[in-house]
């Protein structure tokens, strides 16, 4: 399914890299391309004469994008890699722990998707530069570097002298620092997951000036349905950090507020929570699986889906990574090719082969 989704809309040429004639064809295709993108190992590219230096020697206008786990060169460039290994090397793995268990990745591969999106951006930057200079260039993409962004700048902590590896998030305890993000980025997982009537809900009880208002909205909902004491319902979560630091409110009070939320959400379905999040402006969200996503009326109305044939079936895949007015935006244009499906037409159109 990886192939069916991410090769959708491409033409497919199958060649035998052990056959000199096929490799010669590959070099000829590269010689007429505007852009060459590859994630093949460096040693293989150099053996076949398909490395950027060779390809660009006679064609300085060519853009060569090379995607790899660690980059084209450097002390670890030839390291063996997998998605998990890159996730470890680039920073997102280590801080992501569930209690005392070892660090955790997302259950499906992600690292090279970040690198692929970066490769597309790097390539487009080179295309724009070529529009001015007429020259192409090499775009050398490192997946290890790509995933640093997926740590919310955690990778920079030591570099800027922040030595609190276990960031405290609730004011008035230990470091006294507050997680004032709206996302609860620095708040422990167990405090952000809640059971509801038919599944689970993600909810961070945000506090502070930037995002505390959303929590006020939540407690207004509880108060309306008599699910919380009047005293707690009257809290202003925008100034709660100060009240906790001053000792005016305690963490036992916070626990009481949480208990009210917990009991309340058990009476609501995912759909009700989603509706309330929209209608009442809450930072409270149903945790969707693939079936929920497929059934989303929002995504259908936005024309998000593309439909491609997989074997005998028509299958929906994400069709638009962004929606564009004016020029036609990016969209899935067809199914993924079968092995060698377009050998004849590509060799004819690109190389004039009869």
């Amino acid at each position: 399914m990886f192939w069916e989704a991410y090769a959708a809309g491409k033409r497919g040429v199958a060649l035998d890299l052990d056959a000199e004639g096929d490799v010669a064809d590959l070099r000829r295709l590269a010689a007429v391309a505007d852009v060459v993108v590859t994630s093949w190992p460096r040693a293989l590219l150099e053996r076949l004469g398909l490395d950027p230096a060779t390809l660009r020697a006679d064609r300085p206008e060519l853009i060569c994008t090379v995607v790899s786990a660690f980059g084209w060169d450097g002390p670890k460039a030839s390291y063996a890699d997998t998605d998990l290994v890159v996730w470890a090397a680039g920073g997102p793995l280590a801080p992501h722990r569930d209690g005392d268990l070892p660090p955790l990745r997302i259950s499906v591969p992600q690292a090279f998707l970040h690198a692929a999106a970066d490769a597309a951006a790097g390539t487009m930057l080179a295309v724009l530069a070529r529009g001015t200079t007429g020259r192409g260039q090499v775009v050398d993409v490192s997946a290890q570097e790509a995933v640093g962004v997926a740590t919310l700048a955690r990778v920079l902590a030591t570099a800027v002298g922040d030595d609190h590896p276990e960031w405290q998030t609730t004011p008035g305890v230990r470091t006294g620092r507050t997680d004032q993000s709206g996302s609860g980025a620095a708040t422990p997982n167990s405090l952000k997951k809640w059971h509801c009537a038919d599944g689970m809900v993600e909810l961070h009880l945000s506090m502070g000036p930037a995002a505390g208002g959303f929590t006020n909205n939540l407690f207004a909902w509880l108060a309306q349905e008599s699910a919380v004491s009047e005293e707690i319902a009257a809290w202003d979560w925008r100034v709660l950090p100060e009240r906790l630091v001053s000792g005016e409110l305690t963490h036992d009070d916070l626990d009481e507020a949480r208990a009210a939320v917990r009991a309340f959400l058990l009476t609501k379905t995912k759909a009700e929570v989603l509706d309330a999040a929209i209608g009442r402006r809450l930072l409270c969200m149903a945790i969707f699986d693939m079936a929920d996503i497929a059934g989303s009326p929002h995504l259908a109305e936005r024309g998000f889906w593309g439909e491609v044939a997989v074997g005998e079936r028509d299958v929906r895949i994400p069709g638009r990574m962004a929606q564009v007015r004016g020029p036609e935006g990016p969209r899935v244009r067809g199914r993924a090719p079968a092995l060698g499906e377009h050998n004849d037409v590509v060799l004819k159109e690109w190389l004039g082969r009869a």
């Binding site: 890159v86 070892p102 660090p103 997926a150 507050t178």
Partner: protein, 407 residues
């Protein structure tokens, strides 16, 4: 001599937190002039988020904010005031590109939405980024990237099979949305270069996130399979896990280890002093190893437990087995591969002396990108933007200042 890929490009950045600002950050790295508008009264969330210089929470000390906004010019403005909105209109007249991340509909209330702005500027390229997009039943949904990661499926897909969903580290779609937004924006700029045509780009974090789960979407569409979380296990490779090593300085240390094929598996088994496992016929392929996964993981864990994570990485990579220390904040500045690529960049900072940001993730050989300066402090470039870019005279600036507009 190298030039800049985006030399001459002028960008007005009205976005905040992470998903929007990261777009302009890359544009600035590659030579665009980016003016970022923010409020010094309603301080933007990223300024309040870790990590902080010296570990001290301060609105001028967030390394997250610094990483998202390096190289931009900073203007503080009261966008709710008509005078502030007029400054934005003047900046739009100057700009080629506008990036914004207000709640859908907000800019229209101020007459600063795409339809209003393009009336006087048909070649404007404008990008809006939001949780669920500018139209549709969910478009008024408030939220940050953690809402995006719930609705796009990532929350459900991260964690152990027998435990609560753990969710991603931070607001995951904030890391995905801006990458896909940037590609689309750059394509729109290339289209404008060729045709003179502007564009409006509507990026939804939820949709961008789902794009990164396309295979799982396709699987459901094909036969109804609902992808589930399964710890660090992998659909193809066994073994595939994260193992505790010898603690260092009282801190837990871990290493990621995987084997992609039989030869890597056998090399691994020999390396961990278990040649008996290497020789076992039932473990020759991944299916067989999956049956014995617990036994294999135990053997690896027994071997890693007494060794340093760095030693494990080097020993295993030495025999061609995929492995890497689980790099933490302490390791990141000294990782030799990242250092070779010059990934971390030191920049002068008016408050902290120097600060550190991540460099670009792609090295362009002819027009390399680099952060040009630290992120702006609040209002740092008010004078420069209003005088040099907009040509306001001192009197006009004084009126804005006294009127409380430049806050």
């Amino acid at each position: 001599m190298t030039t800049d890929a985006l030399a001459g490009l002028k960008v007005l950045d009205l976005s905040w937190v992470v998903a929007g600002p990261l777009i302009g950050r890359t544009l600035a790295d590659f030579g665009a002039q980016v003016v970022r508008v923010e409020s010094s009264v309603r301080v933007e969330t990223a300024r309040l988020m870790q990590p902080f210089h010296g570990g001290v929470q301060d609105k001028e000390g967030s390394a997250l904010f610094g990483n998202c906004n390096a190289g931009k010019l900073g203007l503080t403005l009261d966008l709710k005031s008509p005078e502030g909105q007029q400054v934005v209109r003047d900046l739009v007249a100057w700009a080629d590109v506008v990036v914004e991340s207000f709640s859908p509909g907000q800019l229209a209330k101020w007459g600063l939405d795409y339809d209003s702005l393009r009336a006087g500027k048909p070649d404007l390229v404008m990008l809006s980024t939001s949780i669920a997009g500018q139209h549709g039943p969910w478009s008024t949904l408030a939220g940050f990237g953690n809402v995006g990661s719930s609705l796009s499926g990532f929350q459900h897909l991260t964690g152990y099979a027998d435990r609560l969903p753990m969710g991603t580290f931070g607001p995951y779609t904030d890391y995905v949305g801006p990458r896909l937004a940037l590609v689309t924006l750059l394509a729109a700029l290339e289209n404008r270069r060729r045709t003179g045509e502007g564009a409006y780009i509507d990026v939804a974090q939820v949709e961008a996130g789902i794009f990164f789960l396309s295979p799982q979407v396709a699987h459901f569409g094909y036969d109804g399979t609902i992808a589930e979380r399964h710890g660090n296990a992998d659909a193809q490779h066994v073994p595939h896990g994260v193992f505790a090593c010898r603690p260092e300085d009282g801190k837990d240390r871990f290493v990621a280890v995987a084997a992609r094929d039989t030869s890597e598996w056998r090399a691994l088994a020999v390396a961990i002093d278990r040649p008996d496992l290497a020789e076992r016929a039932d473990l020759a392929d991944a299916d067989g190893r999956r049956v014995a996964e617990a036994e294999i993981d135990e053997a690896i864990a027994a071997w890693t437990a007494g060794r340093s994570a760095t030693d494990v990485e080097e020993l295993l990579q030495g025999v061609g087995v995929p492995s890497y220390l689980a790099v933490n904040s302490d390791d990141y500045p000294t990782d030799t591969q990242l250092a070779h690529r010059g990934h971390l960049v030191e920049l002068p900072h008016p408050t902290h002396g120097t600060t550190v940001v991540e460099g670009p993730r792609y090295a362009l050989s002819e027009t390399p990108g680099r952060p040009r300066a630290a992120a702006p402090t609040l209002g740092q470039h008010n004078e420069q933007v209003l005088t040099d870019i907009l040509g306001y005279d001192a009197e006009r600036i004084a009126v804005l200042t006294e009127g409380g507009i430049l806050r």
